[in-house]
Amino acid sequence: MDSEDDMHDANDAESVDDDFYSGETAMDSDDGDAADYEFIDNDSDDSNDLVSHRSQQNYTILNETDIQLRQEDDITKIASILSISNVAAAILLRHYNWSVSKVNDEWFADEEKVRRVVGLLEEPRPLPNAKELTCGICFEVYPNDSMRSAACGHPFCVTCWQGYISTSINDGPGCLTLRCPDPSCGAAVGKDMVVSLASHDDREKYRRYFLRSFVEDNRKVIVLSFNFLIIDLRFFFISPLIQNGVLLLVVDYAVDFIVGGGTFDVTCRCSYSFCWNCTEEAHRPVDCDTVSKWIMKNSAESENMNWILANSKPCPKCKRPIEKNQGCMHITCTPPCKFEFCWLCLGAWSDHGERTGGFYACNRYEAAKQEGVYDDTEKRREMAKNSLERYTHYYERWATNQSSRQKALADLQQMQSVHLEKLSDKQCQPESQLKFITEAWLQIVECRRVLKWTYAYGYYLPEHEHAKRQFFEYLQGEAESGLERLHQCAEKELQGYLNVEGPSKDFNEFRMKLAGLTSVTRNYFENLVRALENGLSDVDAHGGTSRTGGSRSLGAGSSKGRTSRSKGTASRSSGSRNIDDSGHWSCEYCTFANAKSATVCQMCQQRR
């Protein structure tokens, strides 16, 4: 545990260093257009560090060029093994969903059959040896040299070929399996022929289908054979950006994922994170089952919720919602509860009788209503334990964090597209030196995501596990206040530096503070995620007295010093390594980067 923590902190320390002082940062991206959209550098090393420091990375983000290279590799491999042309190899691979091993197996098992199925002729036949040939499509007669044919030698004129190819490409990815137009033939039409005859636009479409097929077909086949492949299982996936709605970028990044390497969380280069396993958005620390349960509940409940709240009252004893659709005020709850009560005052029916003004007009209710005791909202608060109220409680907070996250994402984009430039102008700082702000916002987005899911976690945390619940709520509360501090600093305090005339003297201090807060919050949240993923096992170990144990395990959490005073091994180990050339020292307790002159941490008031 300790050593693992050390590792993480060491990584953090490095990334902090990188972020502050290295010149090569995201905004230097030479890819001008892309830089506007991308949150993270094009340089894959950099971005990988950024997204993966919380766990070892078991996936690779591939862009178009990467995919193309892999595709070409596979094609060349097959071409050389089978001694066939690259075009033929591509046709073969596509037919067998780009599985090199499948092509090998099938080919060497029965070459003749494979050739027949795929439409690869052993001996290409030339065009018929006549001066003039009749096109099989338009029936016109043309000189030999304006005719074309696939390997089968069936002659068609160039115009008809173009029409044939264009129609096929515009019909969709089926164009990748194009055959000779002669219905009795079936010889494959290779990429070379298509490319040489298609129009510019069609050629581009074809090229994309070709590339996509490598990604998409590959996935299908491996998912099918999922159980049979054990080691180094890779497959590809198009990042589901379009579903996201928030991110405008529609990129065909694929993800090469190796199963069995720990977490399922994948962060695309566009900064969208999703779960490999269930393809919902990333949901650590909650597992896939809980997520699907929760999402199902949300979709089912949200419609019902309003109706239930408006039309039902909870049984005073068992809290189940009851709709009164007819009859008298005497309500008997359904078994096993069977509690008998008065609909109007929600009091026990046994208390009712002549003295309360009769069974059918509860004057206790009337009287109390006049005195203002039976205020409806008052009643509601009383019923807070009602299961639906409980759900609403968690749902509202889940949803609030969700929207807060969307807002933060939008702010981040705004920051990158507008404010950073302005800030760089005002404060005379190169944009590369402002990466810490992007970092902070990325952290906020991530924290909102985690926080959001902790509410689903809390909802499913059994009611009777009081110690765990208490501990969980404490951790959640701490996480929330920590995040608020970071959010406040990144949002409000930054404004102060944006709206000034000249460079501010204390801008460096601001940098220190925000970067420190980012790092503290990141640590806290990473520990939080780990604690929740472990099912809050600390509570079991420490029995009821979870507070001290918990705060220790979560390490540097709060700047108010409540948790940070505990001497967690994790944060201590990172301290000494964080002193760098520019003369800052990093607080051992909260990792805040302090100016060299300070002897007391400005964040948590601990001595150096």
Partner: protein, 194 residues
């Protein structure tokens, strides 16, 4: 734009083979992309003796896109809609090739009449009957052929007679009945002034 010169060539070629095939293919006078065709019902099938009319439209992408074909004569067949005459045949859809043509498509349709494919049905009711109660299917198909596909049959003159009695001129009744493939109700609909 559909390749008009190819269509003309097809029509020329077709007229040469017409007598052997026993089929007819005619383009509209004003629009070569709209054609009508007839195919004889294959012998030793319930469709034997019938003449089946088809309505053909050639899309802009023809011959790279398949022709749109539809029976105007009512047919009781698993792969042909008993309501609309729509046809379920692979070469008229995914398996079309520009090297095919109207003649080959019509021959394929004739083949489809001889060998239905009830597992890939257009008309589920007919397909169910074909699989479950073949005798009834054959009887129904034969009756439909008698009723709708035999223009010269006694039945036809019976219908003509009926419609003439309703007060329509005989020549017009015959022409209309032929145009709708012998469907009495459809003919009546057309004859009635709108």
């Amino acid at each position: 734009m559909a390749n008009v010169s190819r269509i003309h060539r097809e029509l020329m070629q077709f007229s040469k083979d017409q007598s052997i095939l026993g089929m007819s293919l005619m383009a509209d006078d004003d629009d070569v992309r709209h054609l009508t065709a007839t195919i004889p019902g294959p012998t030793s099938t319930p469709y034997d003796g019938g003449i089946f009319h088809l309505d053909i439209t050639l899309p802009d992408g023809y011959p790279f896109d398949p022709p749109k074909m539809r029976f105007t004569t009512k047919v009781w067949h698993p792969n042909i809609s008993s309501q609309t005459g729509a046809i379920c045949l692979d070469i008229l859809k995914n398996n079309w090739s520009p090297a095919l043509n109207l003649k080959t498509a019509l021959i394929s349709l004739q083949a489809l009449l001889s060998s239905p494919e009830p597992n890939d049905p257009q008309d589920a009711v007919v397909a169910k009957q074909y699989l479950g109660d073949y005798a009834t299917f054959v009887a129904t198909a034969r009756r439909w052929t008698e009723d709708f596909a035999k223009a010269s049959s006694a039945n036809f003159s019976g219908k003509v007679h009926k419609l003439v009695e309703m007060g329509f001129p005989e020549a017009l009744v015959k022409k209309t009945l032929e145009a709708v493939g012998g469907d009495e109700n459809m003919a009546l609909e057309r004859l009635c002034p709108k």
